[in-house]
């Protein structure tokens, strides 16, 4: 018995050494046409569409999901140390792409498919391409907030009556960080800091996931939650009717107000991509009609290809709450007066600020 166990252990040692060798070779090379994707976008919102891509093209994808800014760092480190990294980077907002572009880690790509998306949602030089649009919004629980009490501006949220009633992600969520950057650039450094300090008083920071925020608001743990708009629609999919009693607010939409941030989830081909043509195929697919329809229909996001319609219920919510009759949600919403690529250079300072105020 004991001898057998020793044999087993030594055998497993040899076997595992061999496997790890093979395994590390496999990871290091992965040149068999498989596309390596780093994604700051969460698995449930990306994996289904990649599976559709695999089914249609027969090209396999290997995805590492994680925090977008940590992955961006990893890309830079890999580039520096090994001279290469993944093939494709996908993330939920564009500041991280701008950061990578400024570090010369991306390669521009432009095709008929990518050029048919909204021009505001792409890098000027084609370094990154917007895949889907989303706006920052406030989710509220209808059981806990009366219609007359609803805030219509983010600046209402600092009122002491909301103390302990607001949920938000922590600073490891890049959509949130991008929103803070936009705020800093729009209203100025000091006002932004003061606003955030006051907001922090009222707000409970959950994990880095908006899913957590929407669920907590749905369950009635918090009256309000800071989210991206589609989490409202995803919450309405919950099987338990009692947690579906939520509404959405698009803040600061009046003439005199500052507007809200519309972000693009985007994709970019990395500078030393090994499977260039396959990586390009992924971007073409995601910006193509089929990919855009998927983002619009399944993820409730705003399609960036004008020819693809916004999902009717998504559009209706925007039209109703803004009294707008345009057929595109993005066209209806009043946006922060900023180009998306301004956020990249602002990101580091935003993170410093968030560390400083302890968000």
């Amino acid at each position: 018995m004991s001898l057998r166990l020793v044999r087993f252990i030594s055998l497993s040692l040899i076997l595992t050494l061999f496997l790890s060798f093979v395994g590390s070779l496999g990871i290091a090379q992965s040149s068999s046409g498989e596309i390596v994707i780093y994604s700051g976008r969460r698995e449930p919102l990306l994996q289904p569409i990649l599976e559709l891509f695999e089914k249609e093209t027969g090209i396999k994808t290997i995805v590492k999901y994680g925090s977008g800014s940590a992955l961006a760092q990893q890309i830079l480190e890999e580039e520096k140390a090994l001279g290469r990294s993944a093939d494709l980077f996908i993330h939920t907002e564009t500041a991280t792409f701008e950061f990578l572009r400024l570090q010369n880690a991306l390669q521009p790509y432009s095709s008929e498919s990518t050029r048919s998306t909204l021009v505001d949602m792409r890098a000027r030089d084609g370094s990154w391409t917007g895949l889907s649009g989303r706006s920052r919004a406030i989710l509220y629980n209808k059981n806990l907030v009366k219609a007359s009490d609803l805030p219509n501006s983010i600046f209402d949220l600092t009122d002491s009556k909301w103390k302990g009633k607001i949920a938000a992600t922590n600073s490891a969520n890049d959509s949130f960080t991008a929103w803070v950057s936009a705020l800093r650039l729009t209203i100025g450094e000091e006002p932004a800091k003061n606003f955030l300090l006051k907001l922090k008083e009222n707000t409970t920071r959950l994990t880095n996931s908006h899913t957590d925020v929407r669920k907590a608001v749905g369950r009635g743990e918090f009256a309000l939650g800071l989210i991206n708009h589609y989490y409202y629609h995803i919450q309405l999919e919950e099987p338990d009717a009692a947690v579906r009693n939520v509404g959405i607010i698009f803040p600061d939409q009046k003439q005199t107000q500052i507007g809200t941030l519309i972000l693009a989830a985007a994709g970019a081909i990395l500078k030393n991509a090994r499977n260039l043509s396959n990586a390009q195929k992924v971007l073409d697919f995601l910006t193509g009609t089929e990919g855009q329809k998927f983002f619009a229909e399944v993820n409730y996001e705003y399609p960036l290809r004008p020819a693809v319609p916004t999902r009717s219920d998504v559009l209706k919510v925007v039209q109703d709450s803004l009294n707008c009759n345009k057929t595109s949600a993005i066209a209806c919403l009043k946006q922060f007066p900023l180009p998306l690529d301004a956020l990249g250079a602002a990101a580091q300072k935003t993170r410093d600020l968030l560390v400083e105020i302890g968000w």
Binding site: L5, S12, S67, S69, A172, T211, R351
Partner: protein, 550 residues
């Protein structure tokens, strides 16, 4: 050595007396590899200390003005509550099954350590989904026609609750061992001298149990301090969760500053343990062969049973049942499983978990043999003590920080390693090396040195001695150590999350990814697989533990 013995008579040469006494000093074949191993093991800690010390005063100042006091308070409060709770619960349960006539005391013992097979973050996930508003419990009650608001467990309460459930089995196991070792005559003598039962408990038994309880307390305290999964699930901000967020935001300086403080607290606790240990040493007699009389519980039987079974339910049965429920539910609701976990992937993730952990366990045990031999055979060798201290210094480094330190070191000097699967194996080896070392050391301490000397006198080569004399005797300790490292590696969370390469998901990564998105159904198969496969190994360990005691 050879040159010196050539001048001596053939007789002396043959029996190598001189040779033997030289070996008693030091042997290069053991010393050099041991030092090398120790240096490797201490590298992440060394680098973290260096990196942390480079943090600019301005950043310290900023951190101190903002996050630091709150985090310090949160972490310390959590640590104190968990330690107190785990020690109390573990001690009471140990006393009940070891010293009273509670029904089922023979088979309750292995059952009460079984919560160790469920990683604490899985327990936390189960409770988060179970209680609270619109949680599983509330919905189940509703289905029965009861409308009740079930409070949620977020914050300090839930974190402490789950961590106590996760750590009391350690205290329990240590306390059972200590209780079994106490001599019946001590207690009888104290009673015959007129002490009441309570006085015996506090003045005789408690001092005898103190080392075990102290060990359990330190274990629980460090567990609470280094926990990442449970605190983040319950949205409780501690040092570790803050460090994780900072690292993911690429705030490495701030992350390592907080890391440095966390290391300092850990070192203080470990130091306090050694100091208290010195003062509290109570001489223990030989174990009496007579078994101690069991107290009759009488009226207290009911409450005692309630305590035992509610602890077991809360820490073991309920979390498993919840996951089984989610698993079954996920089979019926196809929408939630659409995006992940088909059987092939599950098997692939399980294999990833298992081979990395198996390799890590084998390596850790293999690397532990030489330093443990040195330490076990030459306990007074100053250099040996230093090397061993260095080799085990990783215990001062919570898993997340170890991963950080390793990441920094590898990125700087061995980037190719960092981006391969080897990094996972390496981090498991580094993290659990102290456990492997302790197992092997305890094995050596049970092998009389005379046996080796005898074999050497009979002309056996060192390798021959190891293979034919030591190895067979050491085997149980090696296996126990291997199992321990394997179990801990399979369930390791923070370092795995941080370091796993693209396309290489393990069971823990899958559980975490799914559950952190609130998809409990898809998390269930991986979680259950992790538990089911760990169970036999844990019982093997428990049997070893038991047979070592008897």
């Amino acid at each position: 050595m050879g040159a010196a013995s050539q001048t001596r008579s053939p007789w002396r040469d043959r029996f190598k007396f001189n040779h033997l006494s030289k070996r008693r000093e030091r042997s290069g074949g053991i010393v050099l590899p041991s030092i090398l191993i120790a240096l490797v093991m201490a590298t992440p800690l060394g680098y973290m200390l260096y990196y942390g010390s480079q943090v600019e005063p301005a950043l310290w100042n900023k951190l101190w003005k903002t996050q630091l006091p709150g985090l310090l308070f949160n972490s310390l409060v959590l640590m104190l509550i968990v330690t107190a709770g785990a020690v109390l619960l573990g001690l009471v349960l140990a006393w009940l099954v070891e010293r009273t006539d509670i029904p089922g005391h023979t088979w309750l013992k292995p059952l009460l350590v079984s919560p160790l097979v469920i990683p604490c973050y899985i327990v936390a996930i189960a409770y988060v989904g179970f209680v609270g508003k619109r949680g599983l419990l509330e919905r189940l009650l509703e289905a029965w026609g009861l409308h009740a608001e079930v409070p949620s467990l977020y914050g300090l309460g839930g974190t402490a609750f789950v961590l106590i459930l996760a750590t009391f089995p350690y205290v329990f196991a240590l306390a059972v061992a200590a209780l079994r070792k106490t001599n019946a005559s001590l207690e009888e003598a104290a009673r015959s001298l007129g002490l009441t039962r309570w006085q015996v408990a506090f003045r005789v038994m408690l001092p005898l149990l103190a080392p075990a309880l102290l060990g359990g307390a330190v274990l629980s305290a460090l567990y609470a301090l280094s926990d990442f999964g449970v605190a983040s699930i319950f949205r409780y901000q501690t040092f570790t969760t803050a460090i994780y967020v900072l690292f993911n935001n690429h705030e490495r300086a701030a992350a390592s500053a907080l890391g440095l403080l966390l290391i300092a607290i850990t070192v203080i606790i470990l130091f306090a343990q050694t100091q208290l240990w010195k003062e509290r040493r109570v001489s223990a007699d030989k174990i009496s062969l007579r078994s101690l009389p069991r107290f009759s519980l009488g009226f207290w039987r009911g409450p005692a049973l309630l305590l035992v079974w509610s602890s077991l339910t809360a820490s073991f049965f309920l979390p498993i049942l919840i996951f089984v429920y989610w698993f079954i539910e996920s089979l019926t609701v196809s929408a939630t499983v659409a995006w992940m976990t088909n059987l092939n992937e599950l098997v692939a993730h399980a294999l990833n978990s298992f081979w990395t952990s198996a390799l890590a366990a084998t390596l850790a045990i293999g690397l532990a043999i030489l330093p443990a031999y040195w330490r076990g055979r030459r306990p007074n060798d100053r250099l040996g003590q230093g090397v061993v201290w260095l080799a085990q210094s990783g215990v001062a480094l919570p898993g997340l920080l170890l991963a950080l330190g390793l990441a920094f070191v590898l990125l700087k000097w061995f980037p190719a390693l960092y981006f391969s699967v080897s990094v996972l194996v390496l981090v498991y080896v580094l993290r659990f090396f102290p456990q492997a070392f302790q197992s092997v050391l305890s094995g050596f301490s049970q092998i009389p040195e005379r046996l080796e000397e005898g074999a050497r006198l009979l002309g056996c080569t060192p390798v021959g001695i190891f293979w034919r004399v030591i190895r067979p005797l050491l085997q149980p300790a090696l296996l126990a150590g291997w199992t321990l490292v394997f179990l801990n590696s399979v369930r390791e969370l923070p370092a795995t999350l941080l370091l796993h390469p693209a396309g290489f998901d393990t069971l823990t990564v899958r559980v975490w990814m799914a559950a952190s998105e609130g998809y409990y159904g898809p998390a269930a198969p991986a979680a259950l697989l992790l538990i089911v496969l760990s169970l036999p190994l844990l019982f093997f360990l428990w049997r070893e533990h038991e047979s070592a005691l008897s």
